[in-house]
């Protein structure tokens, strides 16, 4: 834990703009990946359900 905190502090001290941007970027990307993986799967299910309902009136090509 201390090692991780040290690494974060180094990133913020050494060229703070790029260090902070990299930290925010990795934290944001990791979180969003998990969140979108869950919510995106629900979106696919809902999309296919709506398409199935709409399909009853049209013949497949």
């Amino acid at each position: 834990m201390t090692t991780v905190l040290d690494a974060i502090l180094t990133m913020l001290q050494d060229h703070w703009f790029w260090g902070a941007t990299t930290l925010i970027c990795l934290a944001w990307y990791s979180t969003v990946t998990v969140y979108v993986a869950i919510r995106g799967a629900a979106d696919i299910r809902a999309m296919l359900r709506r398409l199935r309902r709409g399909a009853s009136s049209t013949k497949p090509v």
Binding site: A7, T21, Y29, V32, V36, R39, L48, A55, K59
Partner: protein, 493 residues
Amino acid sequence: MTSLTVLDGGIIAIYLLITMVAGVAIRRYVRRVEDFIVAGREMNVYLGIASLAATEFGIVTCMYAAQNGFDKGFAGAVPGLLTFAAMFLVGYTGFCVKPLRDSGVMTIPELFEKKFGPRVRWAAGVVIVLGGLLNMGVFLRMGGDFLVNVAHLDPRYLEVMMTALLVGVAIYTILGGMLSVLVTDFLQFVVMSAGLIVTTFLILGKVGWGALVDAVEVHHGAGGFNPFANPTMGWSYVIFNALLNTAAVLTWQTQIARVLAAKDSATGRKVYTRTSFFFVARWLVPGIWGIAALALLTPEQVPQDSILAMPRMLGMVLPAGLMGLLIAAMLAADMSTDASYMLTWSSVIYNDILAPFRRTKWSEKKGLFWNRTIVALIGVFLLVYGLWYKIEGDAWTYLGITGTIYLSSISTLLVACCYWKRANSWGAAAAILFGALMPVATLILQKVGPWRAWVKENEASCMIAVYATTAVAMIVGSLLKPQPKGSTAGDKP
């Protein structure tokens, strides 16, 4: 140096199998041309975010962003910051994308017909396809170069490997259109993101932040952190990238296709605002990999072409297992990009370039047949062009120039179409003409003639001139056209 193990091969095979099965299975939901091109406009926010992010990150993206990191240091990630700002603002305000989605069109040129007439729609379709095809023509070889260098494969198999990958992508894109693209994009987003995140943490752990910063300081000095202090960047590079990325956010086919496939304009705008920060990651993550190559490779190990430095470095540091995950992630990135590019540009060919041949309404069956045929033909073009064209200069600038063939004019037309009543077909035609001719001239002058060196040194300034000239052409052309008596607006008030 790591070679592929059975574990790596297994991870890659499972990923490819799941993607192909999912992509092909979705074909049964395609019943109309609207399902094929814009997924029946049923896309919701999170699927849109996954799809947009997966499409906008291919192996080619990873290669040119890493090349920027290697050649320019952290400052090389500036285009990502500019794209983030542009996409967030466009999504937040709804600038152009709201009226575009609310109009109910399937492509941007279709909107232009309402304001500028059918000829402008057709011409806009032609430049969009020209710029897009030249742009994506180089994807395949760069993807192959990456895989060969990372996994130490025999370069003789590059063509065969990339052809097989493209055929696989083409099969599910031809069968399922945008619906298959969205579902496979979702799977690809998850695999791609896992690979990118794990690899980046591994690199940061192995190399250390201090060593990355030192490498940039030693090789690039202050210019490695500040684009304005970098001799290969400067104001012209930043301004060109600001214009380029704003235009891309407004009109790039693969990005705008997500707005058009969204359930409504509010959903499209949410997809933009919530995906916008991904574009920082899109540049910074591979940029860090490129900087790691700068820190780890000895001068003897640095390849002649700096674009190959990052894959060479990855081939040295990645352990077995993680190599399989990375290659699966990169294949995912490439497949989602290829599929979406083939589909969205074929939709412009069908919807706009073939529009004059569809004066009488085509049946859904005939429309789907032609859409699928065009996707297949674009796949053939990708194979042929991708094998013989050699890029001059860095990859990002080549992509910027070919993209500008249409980005400058189409973004000008879109803004004028949405917000300037006086805009008309003369201005639109002049903007398309200047916007297409100037980048094509730049590409030609890079290859032949006495100004080769000058053009290469001043690419960014030339491209800024294209955007400025295109806007002036739109204004002057529109003002020159006599207005119908009693009208204060353009062609169609």
